[in-house]
């Protein structure tokens, strides 16, 4: 079981896509605003698009914090695909739409995410070990509530156009 934090991302054509980050069902809903803002702070620096909304069970307007300030080049279909492993080795895939091109390395169809970039390290470590806000740790999981323990790969990915 898990609780789902979602982020709605908007691109330059106002197309939208929603990603979900699961948390164990021990997640304290009274901390929703802090946890959403904290994970927004590690996701937003990776995107050309804007974070339009986020929430868990109620939607929080992010227009006064992260946007929507989508760059015209932002495209929902241009994504980074992160493959995480949880306890037991099971996969947890997360696609980040409108991922900023300069965070990729390599060329052609073999581009991978630059795992040395500060913004990427912030995000990946937040997914693996959680984020601390005011001494409270918010730790993501997979859909079953299993702890994310490692990042196997992070590559360029072309996704569907969803709105």
């Amino acid at each position: 079981m898990a609780t789902f934090m979602y982020f709605t991302i908007q691109d330059g054509d106002n197309d939208k896509s929603t990603i979900e980050i699961p948390f164990p069902n021990s997640f304290d809903l009274s901390h929703t605003a802090n946890a959403v803002a904290a994970f927004g702070a590690v996701i937003n620096p990776l995107l050309n698009g804007g974070l339009k909304a986020a929430g868990i069970r109620l939607e929080i307007d992010l227009s006064a914090t992260w946007g929507p300030t989508s760059l015209l080049i932002a495209d929902i279909q241009e994504q980074a695909q992160f493959l995480f492993r949880v306890v037991g080795g099971f996969p947890k895939i997360l696609n980040l739409p409108t991922f900023i091109e300069t965070f990729f390395t390599g060329g052609g169809s073999e581009k991978t995410v630059d795992m040395t970039a500060t913004e990427v390290v912030d995000f990946v470590n937040a997914m693996e070990d959680g984020l601390t806000v005011n001494s409270v740790l918010y730790q993501p999981s997979d859909y079953r509530g299993a702890d994310i323990v490692s990042t196997e790969s992070a590559v360029q990915h072309w996704g569907r156009n969803r709105s």
Binding site: A41, V42, M115, V121, D122, A126, E128, V133, T151
Partner: protein
Amino acid sequence: MPRNLTVSEQVETLYNAVPTSGEIPYDTLATNVIATGNKDALNHLFPLKRQGRLNVRTEINPETGKPTTYVSRA
């Protein structure tokens, strides 16, 4: 022109760039390592964390709302 480091040399370059005590912000660590001309050494951050040699934690500054990742020796 400096030669390319072996993988094990890259690992030790990164590990040795972390102070023996206390934490260092990842941004500072990366700047220091890149200044030595061995940027590839930074790719060993997460493997060293998994091996238990480095501790890595990410914290949100409640005043600025911005994240900082800190690295220390385990």
